[in-house]
C-alpha cells in the first residue's frame, strides 16, 4: 500500500516537473546579460505592441543585452506578484509600478542604485523629466524608478449636448461657476442626462479629483513638513461645497468605479467628464463629437498628474547596469517620441516635445494637445509618504459622504482632519 503511495507521488511530481521551465533570468553566460521587464499592458493594445517592438529594437541594437517583456497583471495584482518575487529574492529587473506605491517601494533594499547611475551619467538629463514625475519617483532623495507614464485631468465635453442646451463650448477661462451652470443646464432627469460624472468608489480615483479642486481653490493637502493635515481649510470647504451643490441638483452621475461613465458619455448621457488621455482612445472610438479643455478655475487652473514608474530592482551589478542601460535608451527623447507616436501617451519629458517629429504626434492625436499643454498646470504632487494610502482611504470616504449627501462639507473635513492627523502622528 505504501509503495503505491510513493509511486503516485513520484508520478505526480514527475508530471509537474515536465511543465517546469526556465526562469528566463540568470545573469547569463559570458558577457551577455538577460533581463526581465514586467508590465501590465493588455492585448490587443497599442502599448503591448509597442513594448514588444521596442524591446526587440533595443535587443537588436544592443547585442550584449536581451530584454524580455512579460505580462505581470495590472493594478493591485501586479503589486502582489512583485511583492512575492521580492520575498523570493528574485525580483524582475524592471517593473511598471504605480507612482502612489513609490514611498513604500523605496523601503526595500532590493532596488537598483539608480541615483549613482544617474549622477554619473550627464547624458541622462534627469531634470528634463516633468517636475511632478521626478517628485513621485524620488523618495527622500532616493530615485526608485524612471518615469513610465504621465497624465493629468482635463475637461472633456460632448459638443452636441452643449449645442442642444444652447451653451457655448468651455473656454480656457472658465470658472467653477461657468462649469456649474453648464452642468445644470446639461442635466435632464427625464432623458436620464447628467451634466457631469464623478468616480465615487472611495478609491484614489475619487480622491485625486478632489485634490485638483482643493488646489484650484488655493488649498493644500498637508502642512509643509507633512506632520499635519491642511485640507480642512476654507479652500477644502469650498471644493466640497461645489461638489455637494451639483450632487444635490442631481447633475452628477456617480460612477461606482466600473468605468460606466465612459459608456454613458459615448451614448450621450453625460455632458462633461474630468478625465485623462487614457480614456481618449475609447471616447474617440465612440460616435460622440467631443472637445477637450483645461479644467475650470476657482482661483487657478491647476490639475493633478498621476505619474507611474519603471522601477529597477537589483539582481547583481551586471543586470542592474543592463536595466539602467535599457531605461536610459527607452526614455531618451527620440525613443520616447516613438513610444508616444505608437501609443498616444503623453511625452514623459520636455525634450520630447522639442523634437521636430513631435508635430507629427500632435497631428496624429489632436485630442492630446490640451493634455500636453495642461502638464504646465500640474504644479503639485501628492505627498510621497508611506502612509499616503491610508490618508487616501480617509479622504475617499469623506468625499463619498459629501456626494451621497450624508454629511456636510465641514463635517466631512473635520472628521477626516482628525483621522489624518492621527495617521500622521502614528510612529511608522
Amino acid at each position: 500500500m505504501k509503495r503505491y503511495f510513493v509511486v503516485v507521488i513520484a508520478a505526480v511530481l514527475a508530471l509537474s516537473a515536465c511543465g517546469g521551465g526556465s526562469s528566463s533570468s540568470g545573469s547569463g553566460s559570458g558577457k551577455h546579460v538577460n533581463i526581465v521587464l514586467w508590465h501590465g499592458f493588455t492585448s490587443p493594445g497599442a502599448e503591448l505592441d509597442a513594448i514588444k517592438a521596442m524591446t526587440a529594437e533595443f535587443n537588436r541594437t544592443h547585442p550584449t543585452i536581451t530584454v524580455t517583456p512579460q505580462f505581470a497583471g495590472n493594478s493591485d495584482y501586479a503589486l502582489q506578484k512583485v511583492l512575492a518575487a521580492i520575498a523570493g529574492g528574485n525580483p524582475p529587473d524592471i517593473a511598471y509600478l504605480y507612482g502612489s506605491w513609490s514611498a513604500n517601494i523605496a523601503t526595500t533594499p532590493a532596488l537598483a542604485p539608480l541615483n549613482s547611475f544617474i549622477a554619473h551619467d550627464s547624458s541622462f538629463n534627469w531634470n528634463d523629466f516633468w517636475p511632478v514625475e521626478r517628485g513621485v519617483a524620488t523618495v527622500k532623495g532616493q530615485i526608485v524608478g524612471v518615469p513610465a507614464l504621465v497624465d493629468n485631468l482635463a475637461l472633456v465635453y460632448n459638443k452636441q449636448l452643449f449645442a442642444q442646451a444652447g451653451l457655448a463650448p468651455p473656454t480656457a477661462n472658465w470658472t467653477w461657476t461657468d462649469f456649474a451652470n453648464a452642468a445644470q443646464k446639461l442635466t435632464n432627469p427625464a432623458k436620464k442626462q447628467f451634466g457631469w460624472a464623478y468616480v465615487n468608489d472611495g478609491s484614489e480615483d475619487t480622491v485625486w479629483r478632489f485634490w485638483a479642486m482643493l488646489w484650484e481653490a488655493g488649498g493644500s493637502i498637508l502642512e509643509s513638513g507633512s506632520k499635519q493635515a491642511a485640507f480642512n481649510s476654507p479652500a477644502g470647504v469650498n471644493a466640497l461645497t461645489f461638489l455637494q451643490n451639483l450632487a444635490r441638483k442631481q447633475s452628477i452621475y456617480l460612477d461606482t468605479g466600473s468605468g460606466n461613465y465612459l459608456g454613458l458619455f459615448n451614448s450621450g448621457h453625460i455632458g462633461m467628464l474630468w478625465t485623462g488621455p487614457w480614456d481618449l482612445a475609447q471616447i474617440a472610438s465612440g460616435h460622440v463629437s467631443f472637445g477637450v479643455q483645461i479644467l475650470p478655475a476657482d482661483l487657478n487652473h491647476q490639475t493633478i498628474a498621476g505619474p507611474d514608474n519603471w522601477v529597477a530592482f537589483n539582481n547583481g551589478s551586471a543586470r542592474s547596469h543592463a536595466a539602467y542601460e535599457f531605461l536610459k535608451w527607452f526614455t531618451s527623447p527620440a525613443v520616447n517620441l516613438e513610444w508616444c507616436l505608437r501609443t498616444g501617451d503623453l511625452p514623459i519629458r520636455a525634450a520630447t516635445t522639442k523634437l521636430p517629429g513631435f508635430k507629427q504626434y500632435l497631428a496624429k492625436y489632436p485630442g492630446d494637445r490640451v493634455w500636453v499643454q495642461n502638464l504646465n498646470n500640474a504644479l503639485q504632487a501628492r505627498p510621497v509618504l508611506a502612509t499616503y494610502p491610508k490618508i487616501s482611504q480617509v479622504i475617499g470616504q469623506a468625499v463619498q459622504s459629501v456626494l451621497l449627501l450624508k454629511s456636510s462639507p465641514q463635517q466631512a473635513l473635520s472628521s477626516a482632519d482628525q483621522q489624518v492627523n492621527s495617521i500622521l502622528a502614528a510612529p511608522s
Binding site: 511543465g19 493588455t42 492585448s43 493594478s75 520575498a87 465612459l262 465612440g286
Partner: protein
Amino acid sequence: MATGQTAQAEPLFRLTVPPEKPRRRLPFSPWHLFLMPVAAVMLVPLLWMVIVSLETASQAQRFPPVLFPHSFHVQSYVDAWNAAPFAHYFLNSAIYSLSTVAGQLLFCSLAAYAFARIRFFGREVLFVVLLATLMVPFQVLLIPTFLIVKKLGMVDSVGGLIVPNLCSAFGIFLLRQFFRTLPIELEEAARIDGASRLAILFKIVLPLSLPALATLGIIQFLWSWNDFLWPLVIINTDTHAPIQLGLSTLQGGHFMEWNVLMAGTVMSQIPILLAFFFAQRWFIQSLAYTGIKQ
C-alpha cells in the same frame, strides 16, 4: 427491495404521490412553472456575455447596454483568439484542472475514508487541524505558498500550479460526509471475507459514491479552471499561463474591448459548462445501487 431495480433516476416525490391521482393534469409538469423563471434569472449573465461578445466594439461599450443589436458579429471571437495564445492557455488549463481533479479524487478519498470509517489515534484532532487550513484567507497565504513552490523549483511551471492543489481539506470534508452516509453492512461483510481496507475503498465505497466524487471533481475542475491569482503570481511566461491568466491580458486597466473580452470569457467557460452537463450522468447514477441489499 425489489423497487431498487426499477428506480433508475426516478424522482423522489413522484414516487410518493399516490398513483391513483391522474385527474386534470397539466400537459406538462407543474415544476416547469417554478424552474423556468429560476433558470431565466440564473442565465442572465451568460446571455448578457454572449450578446456583448457578438456586438461591435462601439456597441459593446455603451451604457446602458445595447441588448438587442441589429446584427451579430462573430469577429470578436476571432480577435480574442488571435490576441493571445489561447491554444496554450486551454492546454495548460486542461493539464492543471485534470491533474488537480485526479489528485483530489485520490488523496481526498483515501483520507476521507480513514476519517469516516477507521478509528485511529488523533483522528478527531487531525481532522480539525486539516479543516482549520480552510479558515485562513488565501490573501495572506499567497506569498508563503509562493516561497515554498519556489523552493521546490517549480516557479513558472504548470507543475507549480498543480502541486499545492492536489489535496484539500474541502475535498476531504465533503467526501467524509458522504462516506458516512453509506450503509456499513457491505463493508463489514467484505472485512469478514478478508478484504483489505484499500480494496474496500476502491471496490465498494467509491463505486457507491459516484455522485459525491462527481461533485468534488466538477468543483475542483471549476476552481482550477477559474483560478487567477495563484497563476498570476507564479507564472511569468505567456505560454505557461492557464486560461484565466491569459484572459486577464485582455482586461485592460483603461482601454477595454468589451466584446473581445466577453468573447474570450465565453470561450473560456464553455469547457466547464460542457463538463458539468456531461458529469450529470454521474450525479444521478448511483441511485439504483443504494436501495439494494438492505
